[in-house]
């Protein structure tokens, strides 16, 4: 008898625990969703449309992106083995210039937004990390986009995987190659030069070596 009651209590507890964890599981997804919704709100805001408002619009997009991208974590992972060889000053420099490059190019890409719908498919959480699957419906196909998030104080995105290609790892390949021949300063310099040539607006059709 006692045994039975114990089993009942135990199973109730277990069930409650299960329900609680599913209820709590939404946190990273909520953060991501708010971020994406904010981006879409800016992009579809009529008062921010047009080339005249570009600077204002892009500044707003960057503020939102800063709010849910963990640039330091992203940069650290992209630099991988190289990160340990950087001085603290170089690390800061690297984070600043690398995140600037990403923001510049991907904000420009976001500008092409045309009412594509984002669907949240699943969420996995382990310790302070989360893996979220989403899907963006384009006119003629759907693109799977996965986000990897980490919680230091808030849940922040540190990697985006599009069609099986991880942003962090794509850069890891590039940086590892450059760092195998060059110094960290040369790498940072190269990123800065890339930003400069993008600002000059001339880069798109020359081939960088």
């Amino acid at each position: 008898m006692k045994m039975k009651r114990f089993a009942l209590i135990l199973s109730t507890l277990l069930l409650t625990a299960c329900f609680c964890s599913t209820a709590l599981a939404g946190e990273p997804q909520d953060r991501l969703k708010v971020g994406i919704d904010n981006v879409i709100a800016i992009l579809s805001d009529a008062s921010l449309k047009g080339p005249a408002k570009r600077a204002e619009r892009q500044a707003k997009l960057r503020t939102v992106a800063d709010g849910f991208f963990d640039w330091r974590e992203l940069s650290r992972r992209a630099a991988a083995e190289g990160w340990k060889k950087f001085t603290p000053q170089q690390q800061d420099d690297f984070v600043t210039s690398f995140s600037e490059l990403l923001q510049k190019t991907y904000v420009r890409k976001l500008e092409k937004y045309n009412n594509e719908k984002v669907a949240f498919l699943s969420e996995q959480i382990a310790d302070n990390q989360a893996f979220l699957k989403t899907q963006v419906a384009m006119k003629d196909k759907t693109i799977p986009i996965n986000y990897v998030m980490i919680k230091h104080d808030k849940w922040m995105v540190y990697d985006v995987v599009v069609e099986g290609v991880s942003l962090v790892k794509n850069y890891r390949t590039q940086f590892a190659k450059i760092l195998s021949k060059d110094t960290p300063d040369a790498l940072i310099q190269r990123i800065k030069e890339k930003i400069k040539s993008l600002d000059a607006g001339k880069n798109v059709d020359d081939v960088a070596s």
Binding site: L102, A126, D140, K141, T142, G164, Y171, F175, V207
Partner: protein
């Protein structure tokens, strides 16, 4: 041979006519990928102390040896012994894109609205059915091959020869995985590695394995049999331009955002192909 090419040419002419004539009506067709469930948890043999999941969200198992790589990382490490040669063709393709393909595709996209361009895309996608069918059969996936067959029949017979993707929303009872397969992916599914990374003029990034696959695909592609050869090339070129017109900006972003565009494209190609093998 002649008859077949005439039929195909007629079909193409019909496509062009329709694109020019029809601007409104009809539902926009979007081929939705049927399932997103990649099988195989055995494909993960490595663990990085910094990553919990691999690119598809599978938990990376901790091996005794402490190898830090995922399978996708291994694919991305395909050797590139012909780097100088590859870089030359990369530059060539890059110029080809910016100086020829992109302006033509932009002009084409300015004249033809998006919806008819989607129809043209559907038409060519439908036409590539033999590649998908043979690949799925060779991968031992008869039910996926059957689904592809019924889609082909449905779209051809009731979707104006494949212009409309009327079967996009019909899901099979049992999930069948992605049917977007070619022979390169089939060899990969059998366990063949990439061999080496290669860049071909006009065709773009490839690998030893995918080059072999491409050669096989060539014979399964109906547009290869258009006679004379320059009409075959023209048809394929038109397909390419139509496709590029839907994707303007993607390559530019990747190139702008990367510090070494050649390495960025190489990594993206190898990882994307790896993902498709397991889709």
């Amino acid at each position: 041979m002649h008859n077949m090419s005439r039929t195909l040419l007629t079909a193409l002419a019909l496509t062009l006519l329709c694109t020019a004539a029809a601007f409104a009506a009809a539902d926009p067709a979007s081929p939705v990928k049927l399932t997103e469930k990649p099988a195989a948890s055995s494909m993960l043999l490595a663990y990085g102390d910094v990553d919990i999941w691999d690119e598809t969200g599978q938990i990376i198992k901790k091996p005794a040896g402490g190898d830090k790589m995922t399978q996708s990382d291994i694919a991305a490490q395909t050797p590139d012994p012909l780097e100088g040669w590859n870089r030359m063709w990369f530059t060539f393709n890059d110029k080809l894109y910016f100086w020829a393909l992109k302006p033509v595709a932009q002009g084409y996209g300015a004249v033809i609205p998006e919806r008819p361009r989607i129809w043209v895309g559907n038409f060519f996608h439908n036409l590539m059915y033999p590649v998908r069918f043979v690949s799925l059969m060779l991968q031992g996936k008869p039910s996926a091959a059957a689904v592809e067959t019924s889609r082909f029949i449905g779209n051809t017979a009731f979707g104006l020869g494949g212009l409309a993707d009327i079967t996009a929303d019909s899901k099979p009872f049992k999930p069948i995985g992605s049917t977007e397969k070619d022979l390169g992916l089939t060899f990969g599914y059998w366990g063949a590695g990439n061999g080496l990374y290669l860049v071909w003029p006009f065709l773009g990034p490839s690998s030893g394995r995918d080059t072999l696959g491409y050669a096989g695909d060539y014979f399964l592609t109906p547009t290869s049999y258009i006679h004379p050869w320059y009409w075959s090339i023209a048809t394929k070129g038109y397909d390419k331009i139509n496709e590029v017109s839907m994707r303007i900006g993607d390559y530019e972003t990747l190139k702008d955002a990367s510090v070494d565009p050649y390495e960025a494209v190489r990594d993206a190609y190898l990882r994307n192909r790896f993902k498709k093998i397991n889709d």
